[in-house]
């Protein structure tokens, strides 16, 4: 760092401290002197980690660099994104198709990186859509959503998208139990106990292509499923789901679903379930769900409606599912790196129970069950599954992750803090305040068999006075902690998009060298591709006009189009002829009822535009591409319906009239 930089830093650091001193009690005093240098990534240098952060009610996935907290990318997933033409271009519209039709928004809560041997491998990120239950796969070579699958029999895909050690399956547990799609749902709401059921989807992942397939569903008693984690190592083959509303309340859950001292963690022997499915024990049920895939060859998405799912009713098989009592309305249900310890975070509990996988196995072998089953499912005795309890850890525990040294880190919503504790002796080692009301947290690799540690990020629900005020709504705040020492050290606040729920971070080295930089124009199999200006054309089919148009620095071909008539549906199929990295072209046309296109090098995208009136309509490139970008424009002339102006198109040859 040169002198000037040092000076700038000191000023910046000093002003942070100064501002801190003016704020209400406790807001800015947790920063120590060297925090700035720990998060400073100089211009032109790279962050060490990619941090994939759920965009909450924005429906998108954001990507930050750590430790800088710089926003690198917002990847559109479940919500339309006019900036990128996502959900507006003809090619991407099918990605948002569902059995309910085109759904342009969702609520994205959790992120799960694809794994090999229990460690993130940098191939794909899986994310859940909570509202209209869906699961999506983001390709980390293109940072684009490649696939979205809808989940039948579900309502609120919250307990998702958690995966097994080798991403054999990504699970999707329904938040709301509801009558299944294959039974009559027209029943009184107050018949929850009789008619409402849970369904847990097991979506298999093709090891090579990543393609998702709804392999089977487990039909369970009606409760709310919240979060989940797979077993690891010795507990590979098992899955753990947190459950609340075991009261099976159908109204005022705030009160009525908080009555029981203990709810459940549901332990699922998924290997066993898989065996039953293979043996043909599942029942095929008629349902309807969309499966949408995007092809990088045709640059086009397809949506297929599927109509059957195999369902295994767990009450009919004694050895798939067990309930473990867990205080109280558990949210997090997290498995430590060894696979032995399962931490339940009861959000209304005053202690943290740690369950032992070995003890659970022993309890099952010894039938150490409660006298009464729960809806036909055996309930393991609490003490027989319990390794121990962390006493007085804080208020409102939500979620736990781990470092490589046998420590756990739990977020506490009510007491606004992150608490570090030792798994073996269950002693609290450190606690640091968060600003304010932390929800999920994440440690780099903290969900895997081999945590990286180093950093922890707390994702807070309340922002209040952390940033310059921006009216009634403030962006949510993430807070970065250095966890390499005995004590956690707060380094940085950074704002996020939407509301971040869960996030994961992986080393940049797993991703950065695999990036697709261009699409080879020769491999473009789009049905409306234009491979060179010699192939440009404009074709009328009834009231549809198809424009085969190319973009290169810095002109469109054609850029003069005449003979379009009012009421015509014009499809601009824009091919970007560039073959160089980071040279997208944009495409906008006046009066379009949708958005722009943003076309990557070698790609073809289509914008539909309806000519609504007589006149002259400019088109132009929206993404600054060269010194002559502002010259990258053209005109579409619209004539009255039935006009005798012939359909013509040209570039460079339409000489000025005398």
């Amino acid at each position: 760092m040169n002198k000037k930089n040092v000076f700038v830093f000191m000023v910046a650091a000093a002003s942070m401290l100064y501002l801190g001193s003016c704020k209400p009690k406790g807001t800015g005093n947790a920063i120590s002197g060297d925090a700035a240098s720990k998060v400073y990534v100089a211009p032109g240098k790279y962050d060490e980690f990619y941090n994939f952060v759920s965009g909450g009610f924005s429906g998108q996935l954001s990507v930050y660099g750590l430790p800088s907290g710089r926003l690198l990318r917002v990847i559109p997933v479940f919500s339309v994104d006019p900036e990128k033409g996502w959900g507006y271009s003809e090619e991407t519209k099918p990605m948002l198709n569902t059995s309910h039709g085109f759904v342009p928004w969702d609520d994205l809560h959790h992120v799960e990186m694809s794994m090999t041997d229990g460690v993130a491998d940098g191939k794909w990120a899986f994310v859940n859509g909570n509202n209209t239950p869906r699961l999506a796969r983001v390709d980390l070579k293109t940072f684009r959503t490649s696939e979205i699958i809808e989940l039948p029999n579900s309502a609120g895909n919250h307990s998702s998208p958690f995966g097994t050690e080798n991403s054999e399956y990504i699970v999707a547990g329904t938040r709301f139990s509801v009558p299944s799609d294959y039974e009559n749902g027209d029943v009184p709401v107050n018949t929850y106990k009789q008619n409402f059921k849970g369904h847990i989807s097991f979506v298999s992942i093709d090891k090579n292509s990543g393609e998702m397939n709804l392999a089977f569903q487990l039909k369970t008693p009606g409760v709310n499923f919240d979060l989940a984690r797979c077993g690891k190592g010795k507990s590979h083959g098992w899955f753990f789901f947190s459950c609340y509303n075991t009261e099976q309340a159908n109204t005022l859950l705030e009160v009525n679903a908080s009555k029981n001292d203990k709810d459940f963690i549901m332990a699922v022997n998924w290997k066993k379930a898989e065996e039953y499915i293979k043996a043909g024990k599942g029942k095929k049920q008629a349902v309807k769900y969309a499966h949408n895939k995007y092809s990088d060859d045709t640059h086009t998405a397809t949506s297929e409606m599927k109509n059957e799912v195999t369902v295994l009713d767990v009450s009919e098989f004694p050895d798939i599912v067990y309930f473990i009592p867990c205080p109280k309305s558990p949210h997090g249900c997290d498995v430590d790196p060894t696979g032995e310890y399962i931490v339940g975070s009861g959000k209304l509990a005053a202690l943290l129970p740690v369950f032992s996988f070995d003890k659970i196995q022993k309890a099952i072998a010894n039938n150490a069950f409660e006298k009464e089953k729960y809806d036909g499912i055996p309930v393991i005795k609490y003490e027989e599954a319990l390794y121990g309890e962390v006493q007085k850890p804080g208020l409102g525990p939500l979620h736990t992750e781990f470092d490589a040294n046998g420590n756990a880190y739990t977020s506490f919503f009510v007491s606004s803090e992150v608490v570090k504790w030792n798994i073996k002796d269950l002693k609290v080692l450190d606690r640091q305040p968060t600003y304010y009301s932390v929800g999920h947290l994440m440690v780099v690799g903290g969900n895997t068999k081999k945590p990286v540690g180093k950093y922890l990020v707390a994702y807070n629900k309340i922002t209040k006075d952390r940033y310059l005020p921006t009216g009634p709504e403030l962006s949510q705040s993430a807070q970065l902690f250095d966890i390499s020492g005995d004590k956690m050290q707060l380094l940085l606040d950074f704002p996020t998009i939407g509301e971040p729920h869960y996030a994961q971070a992986i080393p940049a080295t797993l991703i950065k060298d695999n990036q697709v930089k261009i699409f080879n124009i020769n491999d473009n199999k789009h049905p409306y591709v234009t491979k060179g200006e010699g192939e440009t054309k404009v074709i009328r089919q009834g009231n549809q006009v198809h424009v085969y148009i190319t973009a290169i620095r810095s002109h469109f071909a054609p850029d003069n189009i005449e003979g379009v008539q009012v009421g015509d549906e014009v499809y601009f199929h824009v091919t970007n002829l560039e073959q160089d990295w980071d040279v997208p072209h944009g495409f906008g046309v006046k009066g379009a009822n949708n958005a722009e296109l943003l076309i990557m090098p070698g790609e073809t995208s289509t914008l539909k535009w309806v000519a609504d009136r007589v006149g002259m309509f400019p088109i132009y490139c929206t993404d600054f591409c060269s010194a002559l970008h502002q010259e990258m424009q053209g005109y579409v002339r619209v004539s009255p319906k039935g006009s005798n102006v012939p359909l013509t198109f040209s570039v460079g040859s339409n000489s000025a009239a005398e």
Partner: protein, 163 residues
């Protein structure tokens, strides 16, 4: 003149970063918390050979003989997709200069270096820089394979009347 050139270069600089930020470096840039991002190609103008250009090709590995019509046909097909948006076959300038006569002005290996490695050469070659002043659009890197570059040269020779 010199002043004008500097202005042109200044103008081109941001574009240059767009094209080169990321570079060809394979070193590990992220092993510690913040490490050097890839550097752009060296700006060592002194060692630049304007007869040869900069890149993989020189007189020893580019052999030219009688016109290979089949090769020229392939070159034309590639050019239609990747070049004709900006270049005409006559001597008339479109976005870039017309192709007529290029094979008598330039060595074949110089052309192949330029079309496969444009960014480095735009930054170093005095004549290319002069051309940039006229066109103001940096010739894009169109990701040509070596073989494709050779085929385009053959097509350029055909266009220039070589038999």
């Amino acid at each position: 003149m010199k002043k004008k050139l500097i202005i042109a270069l200044l103008f081109a600089t941001p574009l240059f970063f767009v094209a080169c930020g990321g570079g060809e470096s394979t070193e590990d840039n992220t092993s510690s918390s913040a490490v050097e991002a890839p550097k752009e190609a060296s700006n060592d103008v002194a060692s630049y050979d304007p007869q040869r250009g900069e890149g993989k090709f020189d007189a020893s590995n580019v052999k030219i003989g009688a016109l290979d019509a089949a090769m020229a046909t392939k070159g034309k097909a590639i050019s239609e997709t990747k070049c004709f948006s900006c270049h005409k076959l006559s001597d008339e300038k479109l976005v870039g200069p017309g192709w007529k006569g290029v094979t008598s002005r330039r060595e074949p290996h110089w052309i192949m270096n330029f079309i496969t490695n444009p960014d480095a050469m735009i930054d170093k070659d005095p004549e290319v820089q002069a051309q940039l002043e006229l066109c103001l659009v940096r010739m894009p890197n169109q990701n040509l394979a070596d073989e494709e570059a050779r085929e385009i040269v053959e097509f350029m020779r055909q266009n220039d009347g070589v038999k």
